[in-house]
């Protein structure tokens, strides 16, 4: 069995998760601060890929990055490579499709952050960036990791947009999802089943991680509530 699709899927998912992690945090942090109307509009745009069919995302990406399209032609001129049909083209697709998961989880996390922690840090003379990296992110870490794990899982399972922008070239752009489709089309049932099991295995592990993170988070909140309750009954 050729393990290339597994390796390719994992590297695409890993790289896009890193991109999504930082982009999602930045978007969640800055969008919380802008005026309400603009916030509403940007929020819709950034969440849209979550509900759009992946083929629509793939089509839009092709319109943008295709070798004869505006951005694609410009990049072709500068870098001398096409943006589509390479293994890393799939990263464009997975980043766009999985981004809303990170963005929304991070935003929820930031919204529940107790702002007096930042205030107290500032009155103590700590710089705003210190507070961001050393207080806000660590305090919100459970939500942020959960968002990253979800984004990773989604990126790993992406099929629609990936197949449109990266296609299926065995040993070059094949991912697990596109391989399963190809194997089914060519009636290689046994091999398809193997890949399906691999995929189910990875996804189950990822979901297990999410559950464990949420459980830890839940316990922490429960402990806090219990303490507050005990304090108020005296």
């Amino acid at each position: 069995m050729d393990w290339f699709p597994l390796y390719n899927s994992l590297r695409i998912a890993a790289i896009s998760t890193v991109i999504i992690f930082f982009a999602g945090i930045a978007a969640a942090y800055y969008i919380a601060k802008i005026p309400r109307l603009l916030k509403g509009v940007l929020d819709v745009i950034l969440t849209l890929p979550l509900v759009l069919p992946p083929t629509v995302v793939g089509y839009l990406l092709l319109r943008l990055l295709g070798p004869k399209r505006l951005v694609g032609a410009w990049l072709l001129e500068i870098f001398g490579t096409k943006m589509v049909m390479t293994w890393w083209s799939a990263i464009f697709a997975t980043v766009v499709v999985a981004f809303p998961l990170m963005y929304r989880t991070a935003r929820g996390s930031f919204e529940s952050f107790d702002e007096t922690l930042a205030y107290s840090g500032r009155t103590l003379g700590l710089s705003n960036s210190w507070i961001f990296w050393r207080v806000r992110l660590p305090v919100c870490r459970q939500g942020l990791t959960a968002g990253a794990v979800l984004a990773f899982a989604r990126a790993l399972g992406e099929y629609g947009a990936t197949s449109m922008i990266a296609g299926y070239t065995p040993g070059k752009t094949a991912t697990i999802s596109t391989t399963v489709y190809q194997l089914w089309r060519t009636n290689e049932d046994a091999l398809a089943m193997q890949w399906v099991l691999v995929n189910i295995g990875i996804s189950a592990v990822v979901l297990l991680c999410v559950n464990m993170l949420e459980k830890r988070n839940g316990q922490w909140i429960r402990r806090r509530k219990e303490r507050q309750y005990a304090g108020s009954t005296h």
Binding site: T116, S120, T123, L124, G125, V135
Partner: protein, 351 residues
Amino acid sequence: MLEVHIEKHLSSFTLVVDFCAHQEVMALLGASGCGKSMTLKCIAGIVKPDRGRIVLNDRILFDSERKINLTPQQRRVGYLFQQYALFPHLTVAQNIAVGYRGRDKKAKRQAVQNKIEAMRLQGLENARPGCLSGGQQQRVALARILINEPEALLLDEPFTALDSYLKWQLEMELADTLKHFGRETLFVSHNRDEVYRLCHSVCVLNDGKSEAKQSIQDMFQHPHTYAACLLSGCKNFSSIRRLNDWQAEVLDWGIMLASDRKIPEQATWIGVRSRSILLSSQKKQAQSFPCYIQRCLDDISSTILMLQPLHGQEGAALRVEIDKDKENTQNWRPGQTVYAFIPQDQIMFLQ
């Protein structure tokens, strides 16, 4: 010296605060939601006032005319939040170390150790704030602020998050800490007992407007305004109509008041404490007035009577408190008529 003259428009009222504190513990006293915490936030630089000036010693923290607005980091004002705002992911020692301003690692470790000892936190160095009691959390928060060497201290209702047993213990500790600190301290509270015990002076905030600063004894013995008198724990108020320097009509209770003290011209209210009213079954003094006993309530150490003056307005009941161990505890019963007498020197004229 901490000088504050600020204005800030808020959704439900406009905050207008004007006071000056000199190396003292000053209380900002007011009902909840009257702008006490907002005032502290303006001083700390978390919220920007619309107009005004804040000066701490020789530094201008904020001046709207000269366009000066220092960041909270530059102000060196320590702020103790109601819930203490400790960083939950750091240990006690790390939380305190965060406040240290110097760079020298050895000096920092020593300073943190000193603060841990001073605040009696030994053995808790590696605990997280979530595992501490409310009192311990407050001590960590104070240690973190004091290691930062602030030039003024703002305390936002420091005892609300605690149960009453801990509160007493911590209040005594805080009194020592404040004495040792010895600089301008603002103490926000709605609890008059705490304020009386801990503060030297008091500034009453009434619907977002600050009233003139008073010494703490003055505010409790001779309050000038209705709001101050109410906050000092007085329960009985009536609006008055001043007839001349010596006479006034007490509108709510339907009586005439003849005073041997000059009635201040601005006086529109009088206040009488519930323990100052004397009762008898016969009319003994000329100024006594008949009342109907609405109800008798049994309190722990006193009996509380609710009296409706016979010629007064409906619902303008007086609250009278009689100590239980006093000999004059007659068995007052609801429905009886009694004569109430307010000694002249117990009447507080208010604006």
